[in-house]
Symmetry: C2
Subunit: 224 residues, 2 copies
C-alpha cells in the first residue's frame, strides 16, 4: 500500500485559489491598482486569516503580489520593460531546452509536438482563430520544455509564463506575428528531429526573442 496523502492544508488551498483568482482577472485593464483584503478573503474562503496570510507570503515571494504595510496588498503590475525582460529569460531557457532535447528526447516524442497544431494548416490559418491558436501556442511551448526532462527548466518557465500570460490577449493577438509563428514552430520541430543541436537552439531562441522585440516595439498601448 502507498502512504496516503497528507491532505492539502488550508494554506495550500488558499494559495492555489488566490493564484487562480489573480491570473483570471485582467489586472491591466483597470486603471487603479487591484487590492486584496485579508479579512474579506478569509471570509470568502471560509478560513481564518492565518492561512490566508501564509498564502499571501508565498505569492509575495513569487512576485505576484506585494504587501504594503498597513496599507493593503496590491497585485503587482509588470511594466513593459519587465515583461520584455522576462520573455528574454524565457528565450534563454527554451533554447537550452531545445539543446537538451536534441541529445536526449525520443524521436516519437518530438514528432508528437506536431499534433498540437494538427487543427491548423493552409486551409485553416492560425490568424483566423486567434484564441484557439494562442492556447495551442502555450501548450506547444510547455510541451517543448517538458521534453527536456529538466524539472528546473519546466518550473522556471512556468513561473515566467505565469507573469507573461496576463498579456496573452494583446501580445499574441497580432495577426502578423501569428502568421509567422506556425512556420517557425514547425522549423523548430524539424531541427529537433534532425538532432541539429545548434540550429534547434538558435531557432528556439530567436523565435522567442522575436516575441520580446515585438512586445518592446508594439506593447506600448498596454501601459497607458
Amino acid at each position: 500500500m502507498t502512504r496516503l496523502a497528507p491532505e492539502v492544508s488550508y494554506k495550500a488551498k488558499a494559495y492555489q485559489a488566490l493564484k487562480q483568482a489573480i491570473l483570471k482577472m485582467d489586472i491591466y485593464t483597470t486603471p487603479e491598482p487591484v487590492m486584496l483584503d485579508e479579512r474579506a478573503l478569509s471570509d470568502k474562503l471560509g478560513v481564518s486569516r492565518t492561512p490566508i496570510r501564509e498564502a499571501i507570503a508565498m505569492l509575495e515571494q513569487e512576485g505576484l503580489v506585494k504587501a504594503l504595510p498597513r496599507r493593503g496588498i496590491v497585485v503587482v503590475r509588470r511594466t513593459k520593460a519587465e515583461i520584455v525582460d522576462m520573455i528574454r529569460a524565457w528565450a534563454a531557457l527554451e533554447s537550452m531546452a531545445a539543446r537538451l532535447i536534441t541529445t536526449m528526447a525520443r524521436k516519437r516524442d518530438i514528432t508528437a509536438l506536431r499534433d498540437v497544431f494538427k487543427d491548423f494548416g493552409s486551409d485553416r490559418l492560425p490568424q483566423d482563430h486567434i484564441e484557439e491558436y494562442s492556447r495551442a501556442n502555450i501548450v506547444f511551448h510547455q510541451a517543448l520544455i517538458s521534453l527536456s526532462e529538466s524539472p528546473v527548466l519546466v518550473d522556471m518557465t512556468d513561473d515566467i509564463l505565469l507573469h507573461v500570460r496576463g498579456y496573452r490577449q494583446l501580445t499574441i493577438g497580432r495577426k502578423e506575428r501569428i502568421a509567422a509563428s506556425l512556420p517557425e514552430h514547425l522549423a523548430m520541430i524539424e531541427a529537433l528531429e534532425e538532432r541539429d543541436t545548434d540550429l534547434a537552439e538558435k531557432l528556439a531562441r530567436d523565435h522567442t526573442l522575436r516575441l520580446a522585440d515585438y512586445v518592446e516595439a508594439h506593447g506600448q498601448e498596454l501601459f497607458a
Copy 2:
C-alpha cells in the same frame, strides 16, 4: 522629502535570518536530515511563531525547506541530478546575459570584469588558491550577469546560485577544472569586448555546461 522606509517587519527579518542560517550550514555533510523547529526558532529570534511561520512559507516557496505536516520542517537536500539540472539552467541564463551584454553594455564596464581576477596570473595560479579563486569565480559570474541589466536574469541566477553554492567546496574545488576556468573566463571577456554576440554566447554557455558535466561525472561522492 522621500517617503520614509516602512521599517522591516519581523517576517522579513526572520526570512533573512533563516535563509542565512540555512546557507551557512553544510547540509550535505551530516547524514540525517536537518530539521527546523518553529517554537525553538521563535524563542531564539525573540518573536512569536506567526512571523516565523510566514518566513518558512516563503522559504518553502523558494524551495529551500519543506514542511512535513505534523512532522517537522526539513531543509531540502538536492540530488546530484537536480544540481546538474540547475547548472544547465544557469548556463542558459548566462549565455543570454552574454548575448545582451554584447549589444548593450559599455566597453569600460566589460573591461572592468578583468579586475576580478587581477590577483591571479601565471605567477599566481588559481589552483594554488582555491578558496580565494572560488570566491572570485562567483563574483565574476554575478558581475557578468549584472552587466546584462536584466533584473530577471539577475534574480533567477541568484536563486540558482543559492542552491548550487552548498557544493562550492567540492564542485569548484578540483584542480583540473580550476586550471581551465581562468582562460575560459578571459576568453569570454574578450568576446564581449569584441561584441561577438554568437561567440560570447557560446563561450558562456559551454563554460557553465562544462561545470554541469563535471558535476555529473565526478559529483557522486557528495551524495553517498
